[in-house]
Symmetry: C2
Subunit: 160 residues, 2 copies
């Protein structure tokens, strides 16, 4: 029993079974050179990624718009369960430091990877502080964006 659980009033969930092995999904999520290939839904791209895969470590990405504008995102890794669970948050800066308020939309991402036949049951949850933040994330296109990124992740995983 973990201390973090989904609350459907506040959280957004993408759950899907994909036809690649769990090890490859984990590798695609935790290897910076692979993350840059799938993390941003096209026509956006990911111009850089830095991951220090331990609690307190950074999960940093820079997303680039089709116009070439760059948007850095910095997150703090909270849980690393090799091959099955990755949790990180934009609610803290790397090193567990409190975040300066007002920067971006704070959420905690819980990525769960489970074996399902020869494929993977993939569950990505975005946890929010309150209903308005959840709605804002939903209206920004959470389902489409995270869904399209997952399609790209599957393509990358299949190429490995």
């Amino acid at each position: 029993m973990t201390a973090y659980t989904t609350n459907l009033d506040l959280d957004l969930v993408l759950e899907r079974t994909v036809d690649v092995a769990p090890e490859l999904v984990w590798k695609a999520w935790t290897t910076p050179e692979l993350v840059v290939r799938w993390f941003a839904p096209k026509p956006w791209s990911t111009s850089s990624c830095e991951i220090d895969l331990q609690p307190g470590g950074r999960f940093d990405t820079v997303m680039r718009s089709p116009e070439g504008d760059e948007f850095p995102n910095s997150g703090c890794i909270l849980v690393v369960e090799e091959g099955s669970t990755l949790v990180f948050t934009s609610g803290l800066a790397p090193g567990f430091r409190p975040q300066i308020a007002g920067e971006g939309l704070p959420f905690t991402a819980v990525i769960r990877i489970e074996s399902d036949g020869s494929g993977t049951k993939y569950t990505a949850t975005a946890m929010h502080a309150d209903v308005p933040t959840k709605k804002q994330h939903e209206e920004m296109g959470f389902s489409e964006g995270w869904g399209a990124a997952l399609d790209q992740l599957v393509d990358v995983a299949k190429s490995l």
Copy 2:
């Protein structure tokens, strides 16, 4: 090498060697019935404490002023290294959920307990997002408050 380190520009540190065994200091910090006996510097008191000692678990206290007003504080545990390191933050709600901005002074507490002869080297660090928050915490009486609480903790530990 952990991913969280002190930055003296942003952090406040209380470091002292006390003449009680490390196991008792750990016990005093992680047992709710003991925390209520020392956590708030007198004449304040701690009217309740709830701890779920695992990453993502809650570290909640209610402090009571001499006038009887109650001030609840809710934190999220980040690191539990039995007997040596406890990290929790008010920058996230329990369960790793982002915190609603504007509630209280956000800081991450790193409590390190090391053996030092027959006593304990005790290091309590409060990490902040920026210099103004550090200064605010300093002016609220961090050193005096955390120092007085440590004196009370030592008294409790000696009584065990």
